[in-house]
């Protein structure tokens, strides 16, 4: 069922940026998910806020845009637009900052040597929006966060926190799966963090009401600021990148190395891939996966060619 479109989660930066646990795809072509502390299994998101920074860390010919979007409830979203998102790249080139934007895209995670995970969004679309649309997003996201908090609270009182246990206690199938994994990976969430995001959103939406949930005021505004540096200049994402990133790199290499039209020689491909941080072993896996997808083939054993 690869055709089914994944849900675009409405999620605040505080919840998204701490969704460090990844459910890796079990099979090729199947989606992977970042699991949030409230149990959202996230492949795609719909986020919004103020685009505060944009920077082309690629070249004019091959732009690689990085941007930061300030979540009105606190925290930052990080976006990375590569050459495989031409529509979003065109918007990034033209857009004047700062401005209100919404982003629809896939979530990518990146883990460094110290086992710290950062989350960024790879946008399919970056859209400039007005205040009303931003407020609609705030409301939808606050409601959606609240719904997850409620389910999490329900789960807290259920003894058997396995997926089946949660389902038989009345949680929906997908919710049960996400909540069960979140509890196992992170334990009970700090609900104050999410109440605070909802409170900030409601304060913006209801300026005339004195919205106050009585939360401790010294609560940190946002999770620790995150610096998301690319590993090296032009590589979309090297060793830590997801398999999709690596496939993109390999496809690109195949094109570059195919000088005589009979494909890219294996040994050269291996050298080039190694220089991008992809081992021979990984290369083998990637080319198999690309063959499965029907994107490349082997004209003979020593060559690999893009279709």
């Amino acid at each position: 069922m690869s055709g089914i479109r994944e849900t675009s989660w409405r999620i605040f930066a505080s919840e998204l940026n701490s969704a460090s646990y990844e459910i890796k795809a079990e099979e090729e072509m199947k989606p992977s998910y970042q699991v949030s502390r409230l149990g959202a299994m996230i492949n795609r998101v719909l986020i919004a806020g103020v685009l505060t920074e944009k920077e082309n860390i690629g070249s004019d010919e091959e732009p690689m845009w990085r941007g930061r979007i300030m979540d009105p409830t606190g925290g930052m979203f990080f976006i990375n637009v590569g050459r495989y998102q031409p529509e979003a790249a065109a918007t990034m080139a033209d857009i004047d900052i700062p401005c209100n934007v919404a982003v629809i895209g896939r979530v990518k995670s990146y883990t460094n040597e110290e086992d710290r995970t950062w989350i960024s969004v790879r946008p399919d679309k970056v859209v400039q929006i007005d205040e009303v649309t931003l407020n609609e997003w705030l409301l939808d996201t606050a409601a959606s966060t609240w719904k997850r908090l409620v389910e999490m609270k329900k789960a807290a009182y259920i003894e058997d926190k396995s997926v089946d246990g949660l389902i038989s206690a009345g949680l929906g199938h997908l919710t049960a799966k996400g909540v069960s994994i979140a509890l196992e990976q992170y334990g009970m969430p700090e609900s104050a963090t999410y109440f605070k995001s909802i409170q900030t959103a409601l304060r913006a939406l209801l300026p005339d009401k004195n919205v106050d949930f009585g939360l401790p005021e010294d609560l940190a505004d946002a999770p620790e600021e995150i610096e998301l540096e690319p590993r090296s200049g032009n590589t979309p994402a090297a060793a830590g990148g997801s398999s999709e990133d690596k496939e993109e790199i390999i496809l690109q290499l195949l094109e570059e190395l195919d000088t005589e039209g009979k494909g890219a020689p294996r040994d050269e491909l291996e050298d080039q891939a190694a220089s991008k941080g992809i081992s021979a072993m990984e290369l083998e896996e990637i080319s198999n996966s690309l063959m499965d997808k029907g994107l490349v083939y082997e004209p003979n054993l020593r060559y690999l060619k893009r279709i």
Partner: protein, 452 residues
């Protein structure tokens, strides 16, 4: 998952060997399987698909050559079998005529059960006659998985034979398939009916009751169908025996069974079902469309009748904007050539294929010209003019896309599901303007109440 290095490859090798008509040696297949499953851990489906593609040039299509075929219990089926023998009791069987790629085709479908489980089946050659309740051997069947449910298929090379030797006293009544073996039925609200529902009792009001004549075992039979509604939604029903049902009546249907078509659950009033007139009339039945979240639709099976979904447009897909249609068959065409009618003078039209996402899931929504004009504020004439000016129809799509993305809309219509997910042919579209203050106030009250 089982550790692949301890796996017994023999059944898989035999299956592939049979599927490839013995053209590839078992030794080679064994080696390939080890490569895929042990070295690269691709999982069984990909391994089989890839190996078949490599050696036969085609992916599994259900036309495998018979050969040594494995026998399995229904509970053991994985949905990836290419050639398998299954023995089971037909607890339900039905002949239907489907329009497949413009050709009318008769096929037989139903539910097969043994003591380990049950699964739906389709016999793609609809010529045979089968007896409900009898035991059959399905030879060289192939299986598929859809929505986590196994389907048994008999293609060109498969065969179904009566089996008098095996007797099933009690077939599995709980399992993926939706049928009743006479167990106790549960009272349900219509919105809670899913394609997994088994035996159900429903109270609701009838409408649109009509009859049609079908051919069963060479004999004509009149069946009745219509809509039954309660206050939570409406659902189609088929009355297989004439219960003299009439529009406007409130009835209590007991022991009906549910089958789904393209994800839309439907109520069947069969041999074991009873229908009585309810003592009190239901007043507040749902007459208009029923609001659902995408999550709820997916839970029901991926489809439903007369639904309303409110969400945000997150994508405008290819095939949206200004399109050309064949004047005879209304198919959309790319140039001036219709695949069915040859050279034609195409008619211009507007259409949108949107992805609408409500935060719980996403559906495809196909929107007609009238609503496209309404949503984009571009009329067909303006679109034609714009395309001529810019010399490119694509320009219309781009302009429409920029006005549509992130717009919040409600779409009304029936939802069906196939391999590409849930899809609605939209009957009516509305742009939603949210009363932000009111909605935010509601949320505030709700959160505060939980804290106090």
């Amino acid at each position: 998952m089982t550790d692949p290095s301890n796996m017994n490859f023999e059944p898989l090798v035999k299956e592939l060997y049979a599927a490839l008509d013995g053209k590839v040696s078992e030794e080679t297949l064994q080696k390939e399987l080890v490569k895929y499953l042990v070295t690269y851990k691709t999982g069984e489906t990909i391994a089989k698909d890839s190996i078949l593609k490599r050696y036969s040039g085609s992916r599994p299509s259900g036309t495998y050559v018979s050969g040594a075929s494995v026998t399995k219990k229904i509970g053991e089926l994985e949905g990836t079998e290419l050639s398998v023998t299954v023995i089971g009791k037909m607890v339900f069987v039905d002949k239907s005529v489907k329009n497949i790629k413009g050709v009318e085709k008769t096929l037989i479908s139903g539910i097969l059960a043994d003591d380990t489980g049950s699964a739906s089946f389709t016999i793609w050659d609809g010529n045979g006659e089968y007896q409900k309740g009898a035991v059959y051997t399905f030879k060289n069947a192939y299986t598929k998985k859809w929505n986590d449910k196994i389907q048994i298929n008999i293609g060109n090379r498969g065969k179904v034979e009566p089996n008098d030797e095996v007797v099933f006293d009690s077939v599995a009544s709980s399992s993926s398939a939706s049928f009743s073996t006479g167990g106790s039925a549960t009272d349900v609200l219509i919105k809670d009916i899913t394609e997994q529902s088994r035996s159900v009792n429903i109270t609701g009001v009838l409408s649109g009751v009509s009859s049609r004549v079908i051919v069963v075992k060479g004999e004509e039979k009149t069946i009745y169908g219509g809509i039954i509604a309660d206050h939570t939604g409406k659902i189609q029903f088929t009355d297989w025996n004439n219960h003299d049902l009439r529009d406007g009546e409130t009835v209590v249907v007991k022991n009906a069974y549910i089958r789904a078509w393209k994800g839309i659950p439907q109520v069947n009033i069969g041999d074991n079902s009873t229908v009585t007139i309810a003592e009190t009339k239901l007043n507040s039945v749902s007459t208009g469309p029923s609001s659902r979240t995408v999550e709820e639709v997916m839970k029901a099976g991926g489809g439903g009748l007369d639904l309303a979904i409110t969400g945000v447009i997150v994508d405008v897909k290819n095939g949206s904007g200004l399109i050309k249609r064949c004047p005879q068959c209304n198919r959309s065409v790319l140039g001036e050539e219709c695949s069915a009618h040859g050279r034609i003078e195409p008619v211009m039209d507007l259409r949108l294929k949107l992805t609408v996402d409500d935060g719980t899931g996403a559906i495809s929504a196909i929107i007609n010209r009238n609503d496209t004009e309404l949503l984009t504020d571009i009329t067909l004439d303006e679109a034609i003019e714009l395309a001529r000016e810019k010399g490119d129809m694509r320009h219309v799509t781009d302009r429409m896309t920029s006005t549509l993305i992130l717009k919040k809309i409600t779409v009304y219509g029936n939802i069906m599901s196939d391999d590409f997910g849930p899809q609605m042919s939209v009957r009516k579209t509305e742009v939603v303007s949210t009363d932000l203050t009111a909605e935010a106030g509601k949320l505030y009250d709700e959160v505060e109440e939980s804290l106090s």
